[in-house]
Symmetry: C2
Subunit: 153 residues, 2 copies
């Protein structure tokens, strides 16, 4: 199986994307989670097939779609990707989140994927208001480790 | 992040290894599990960091080290790899298995990693007798889906 190299005009953005995913994965690992990241392949198929980050803690499964921007702005997840993430979380018995990193602050904000709005195109949108009120990573980690209900935020 | 290409004398064996892991992952996916495979990178670091296959079903986590051989033979897992797999399974609240594929039969046999014997070098060995008596994939899948105890085999 041959994997695509990271090259071309989008390679810089991809590498930065992976660096942010790595940051999220590392924080969860340090908090005691088992963590898997999606293959860092340029292959679109493999990126679609897996969540960016999956974290497990004593049978509780968190599925993350990671996005990093330098300002709070609406985030979009296309319909196919959204369905795959929700399907993955349902199989695993876990929950899928949009993980938004505000670059510069190092802060991750988590929005349950089910809270996103479906827009006319069929894609899903996370408005800025949801990001503003979103849970922070430390709080989610604490909640999961204390055995709180993943399904109420 | 630049990934190594699959090339050199071991490339053929690696590609076949990935094909077998893919077979295991696909079977678990078809059985209703959420499944993640390790990055198909030539990078030794990334191969070491992740289990070959992780499968989740409603909060139950199975961690697999996959090996494929054309005959029943003892299988060895080095000490570092073994510790990483067990640590991953403990964090996840799941269980780690050696998944042995008898090439040609398409059959997967599962041995809990804890059943392996530690040998003088510090590595762990799965003797042929354990493989002969090992649980088959369909049986493990049925057991997990019926909610049986993962920790008794």
């Amino acid at each position: 199986m041959r994997r695509a190299r990271l090259s071309g005009p989008r390679a810089g953005a991809r590498r930065r994307g992976f660096a942010h995913e790595r940051d999220l994965a590392l924080r969860l690992f340090k908090a005691g989670f088992a963590v898997v990241r999606a293959p860092a392949s340029g292959s679109k198929a493999s990126r679609l097939a897996y969540p960016d980050v999956v974290a497990m803690y004593r049978g509780r499964v968190l599925v993350f779609e990671a996005k990093a921007y330098s300002s709070l702005r609406p985030v979009y997840v296309d319909a196919r990707r959204y369905r795959r993430l929700v399907d993955f979380a349902e199989r695993a018995g876990g929950r899928a989140f949009l993980a938004f990193k505000l670059v510069g602050t190092g802060e991750w904000r988590l929005v349950p994927l089910q809270s996103l709005e479906r827009i006319e195109t069929g894609a899903y949108r996370c408005p800025v208001a949801l990001l503003e009120g979103a849970e922070r990573l430390d709080d989610l980690v604490r909640r999961v480790k204390e055995g709180g209900n993943l399904y109420i935020t």
